[in-house]
Subunit: 443 residues, 2 copies
Amino acid sequence: MSIHPTQTQIQLARQGDITPAMKAVSEQEDLSVETICQHVAAGQTVIPANHHHTNLRPIGIGAALRTKINANIGNSALSSNAECELSKLHTAISYGADTVMDLSTGADIADIRRAIISASTVPIGTVPIYEAVSRVEQPEDITPELLLDVVEDHARQGVDYITVHVGVLKEHVARASQRLLGIVSRGGAITARWMKVHNKQNLLYTNFDALLDICRTHDVTLSLGDGLRPGCLADASDDAQFAELETLGELVRRSREAGVQAMVEGPGHIPLDQIEMNMRREAEVCDGAPFYILGPVVTDCAPGYDHITSAIGAAVGAMHGAAMLCYVTPKEHLGLPNARDVRDGVIAYKIAAHAADIGRHRPGARQRDDDISRARAAFDWEEQFRLALDPEKARELREEALHERRLEQEDSAEEANRYCTMCGPKFCSMRVSQQAIGTDEGE
Amino acid sequence: MSIHPTQTQIQLARQGDITPAMKAVSEQEDLSVETICQHVAAGQTVIPANHHHTNLRPIGIGAALRTKINANIGNSALSSNAECELSKLHTAISYGADTVMDLSTGADIADIRRAIISASTVPIGTVPIYEAVSRVEQPEDITPELLLDVVEDHARQGVDYITVHVGVLKEHVARASQRLLGIVSRGGAITARWMKVHNKQNLLYTNFDALLDICRTHDVTLSLGDGLRPGCLADASDDAQFAELETLGELVRRSREAGVQAMVEGPGHIPLDQIEMNMRREAEVCDGAPFYILGPVVTDCAPGYDHITSAIGAAVGAMHGAAMLCYVTPKEHLGLPNARDVRDGVIAYKIAAHAADIGRHRPGARQRDDDISRARAAFDWEEQFRLALDPEKARELREEALHERRLEQEDSAEEANRYCTMCGPKFCSMRVSQQAIGTDEGE
């Protein structure tokens, strides 16, 4: 993809070199390429685009751009295979995921990843420590060399960004001991266990320069994971979370100095009134590094509906500056998502991201809404379906309603097109209103 | 129910008379009965409790109380019957609706309503103009006498609150003519048409005193409908909407002076960044009258998922002072909800209301969240299901995940209880974390 295969986007941006990736982002976002270049140079926008991911269509992630959404896929030790994961990849991309993370922890990790990368036009992220753990008996058997080897494998395969839990320091973990739910991040928990068993500092923190070297060589963007993110409302915004955030801020600066792009991952489970504060704090502590948040879930007690609990938090987070939203599916806290859950999660997050883009007055964000509203006024059902975030679902529910109605009475198809099935002709507000305020030619 | 069948809650509260209804509300809300009485006297809390609704368990609606949710049911001219509506009523109540509105516009309106009231322990609301329209050929054939007769019928049957579109004045309607979607409220559109055909002022506005007399006699709470609510983002917060709001403020004051409880209905479709402003404006213009909002939907382009688009808006609205949230179901804009849609809508709104209650630090609001989080830490699945807003759904999704896993490999049921199906034992963050930070006895 890149015409400068030896340098990263941030290095090139600092030299004022406009890359094809920056041009592509500029066109997508309706912002000048100079602006994109400046944001990338400042580290406030990242363009995850590994030199080896040849079929990638690059996108930018930053608070000044359209809000992006990520869909997690991947097998566990317990289920799924390559075919199944590729099907989830296609579902995620077709419903509008901007990036996809392969979180596989089970069999054939490397092969599944290779298949996903070569099938994906969107940036692919991974969590290398999962594969490192899969190669040893116990999490504590990981060595720095092994972990960096895995990172290098991912980088050479074309992974565009990697989550690394470098901010989980020994001194921060103690602060999590009073928590109701402890450490809920898998990478965070593994790292904490490693540090405890060896009584040593975080192995990636002490080897951060070597990690940066690999990332710079292939232009892998760092996604600085929040291993101490709160796993329930009771643990939100606590000392452990914010101590780690300070370290992430330090790591953002070190990454930028090394010519490596970096974004920061965020919570998790946060009460509605603390979301804005969390967004501001990250922007301040991490000097505007793109904030990539998981939800946040705004209530713990709705398992089965966490795509909704978290879409609420995600929309509010994006309103206040989050750059990318990691989806949560209805299966969260219960099991691994299947293809239906992936679809439900992606659509809920398209809604959250789009609502925030409108709320932030991003240029053109409301166009689709105005177009579908015009189609509503015109009773143009096909156009409404075409403009819907999920045309299939909209059509299916309308057909269900029409069917339930037909069980009751007969009417002509033509007539049915002049009102929706909610009210019937006499009570159709749109029809009555068009007559009442004179926008209907029929009057 | 009431021991003072001749006076309304607000009249009694002003005299300092504590009613059984106020006591019940005080117990539910963990607030002193004196506080409840003061709020009712000030009109900032309403207790919709018609003297004739004998099996009612009264609740309070006000910004100082737990956020309430309403579920709309009711047939249209096109579908459903009494049995079907009673089944929706039970679904709505069992999943936690605090009030239910019967919006029937079809056959057997009076009989369906009678059945609903006598089966309902929660307050029932109606929109009398629908029945008035059903009794005539054309909406413009309604007379003030007919409409007041219908209101009186509802009041005598035991309806606890009624939506009346008294604020849709002739002079406001012209302001809606430039809108993309005109008037989307059925009651608003009917009223606008009536005024246009007769070239007269709103028939309920000119007969408001007679309306107040009926409401005072039976203690029917007025829900002052927003007939000019925006039906799409492009029409939000416009002159028509806010001109009507000023009139609603005037009507709130007239209702209170007449000893009638009143709340105010709100939009509709509002971009995320305008919700807080809308909540503040209503509180100011309507002197703290409980704000009963419909969603709001925060993007127009997700038909099939409007329970989600609107739960986002509803949560933010409740955070900023809305007292009751009228649910929106996945069928919105497509057809009438069936029982499955009612369930989806109610749960989405329980989530929104609960998230806002936590965000507003209502006493005890987070208890259920902390309890379910403790059950998560203990891998106590039965307790998690018990505490879930929808236990059935949580259990169903976990079983689905377990089933998909079993297709892959065998493991013991006992082992499966020690981790969730997301990660498997080696990657279970909770298990690893409990060992790492020493809260697990196993280590």
